[in-house]
Symmetry: C2
Subunit: 246 residues, 2 copies
């Protein structure tokens, strides 16, 4: 196998192996949450291949660029989003996944407070839109598979990372937090028990504010105590909110 490598000569006279003809790309699964829906950010491609299709924001990595940097800059280029923390979750490298040649793609996911970010289509994205993860359009390449794996990763990450606070706006009610977990995991919790458990973690700071413009008793607003989360995490705390479904 490696004994039979063909060598090619590039324009600038650098020899390289046959194997050095891979493309490498990154694809970003950006999750948001609004009105009871877990959403993902997709772009409509305005370039071949798959022109006109919906796709994950992604692009080829350039030769002198680290993967994390590529993920962030691609996302910025296509959507305007900036300084998003992204976590790698899987690499997809089937032989025929890309029509232009052998391209492996490293998939990242991230969680954003969608109220804080206002994606704007640019580069070869003709439009951009949040989609409910239960109502996805057809996707370019193997992006359906990537996205599905990303969703499973998100659901699993609930156990060791405070996804609730990453997806909700700065101020939120306990019911909103509960609704988010229910949407993520697909089942319901018992309200009193959920509240007890979440408050028992001491990760929430109660604000002296309440909801406004609601036609029922207004709920208290809370915010996430990130400092406390960090110190707990460093001691080996795992954020586990797995209550029984109700």
């Amino acid at each position: 196998m490696s004994e039979s490598n063909k060598y090619f000569i590039s324009e600038n006279n650098v020899p390289f192996k046959q194997e050095f003809q891979f493309g490498l790309s990154v694809d970003c699964v950006v999750f948001g949450y609004q009105e009871g829906q877990v959403r993902v950010l997709l772009i409509e491609r305005n370039a071949d291949p798959y022109k006109g299709s919906w796709a994950l924001p992604g692009d080829l990595v350039s030769l002198n660029e680290d993967l994390e940097h590529a993920a962030n800059s691609v996302l910025n280029k296509l959507t305007g989003l900036k300084d998003i923390f992204m976590e790698q979750f899987h690499t997809f490298g089937s032989v025929n996944r890309h029509p232009a040649g052998r391209v492996a793609t490293v998939a990242y996911y991230s969680l954003v407070k969608s109220s804080n970010y206002h994606p704007v289509a640019s580069a070869w994205a003709s439009s951009i839109q949040w989609f409910d993860i239960r109502e996805l359009p057809d996707l370019a390449f193997d992006h359906k598979v990537i996205l599905e794996k990303g969703i499973r990763t998100l659901q699993r990450s609930v156990q060791y990372r405070p996804v609730g606070f990453e997806l909700l706006p700065l101020k939120f009610t306990l019911s909103e937090l509960q609704a988010l977990y229910e949407a993520l995991l697909g089942f319901k919790f018992d309200k009193p028990n959920f509240r007890k458990k979440i408050l028992g973690m001491n990760l929430l700071t109660s604000l002296d504010e309440v909801q406004e413009n609601v036609w029922h008793r207004p709920a208290k607003l809370y915010k996430f105590d990130e400092g406390r989360y960090r110190s707990l995490r460093d001691v080996g705390f795992t954020f586990d909110i797995t209550l029984k479904s109700s």
Copy 2:
């Protein structure tokens, strides 16, 4: 960025972008367990770069080969191990991680019953050896970083996959199982509680055999009930043996 792509012409007149000059490789972190030690399989490289260094078994992927296939065939080529289930855990793609050019590597890990497999060095592996994960030599490339991430992945996977049964021989005692978990996680369990928990899962079948050639009361031998594991897993069961350290 992508607007300024240079195109190269290969020998057989196929144009390809500058970005299509990546190398892609796979590296395998093979875990075994013996005599209280969690071990990993390393090869001594008999080829440049890093000739003479210890390294993870790995190689460039060829253009017409899927990643999973590459991982298995590379491992087979270097060590003789065959049909090992491997799971991808991370891709490493720093710009300068490989001296020969831009090579991203997809890392896989697997768990083997080391008593069943007898690795034999071949290809560019001049020797091959199990190393206790607490006493690792210097490693080629960024393999130290890869291996450390692999170890963390293994420790985390304890929670959702029956690593105990994948690493131990077919027949084992409960004390052996406990010792394995203690070695993996780095702390001790209370014996009665460990036994209760593990037996309570009904994943073990008690055999009508006992240890031999021991100078104390011989322990019963058990085997893993894989069928039962599968049916439980499909119902959403997570294998969680996290007891408090003693």
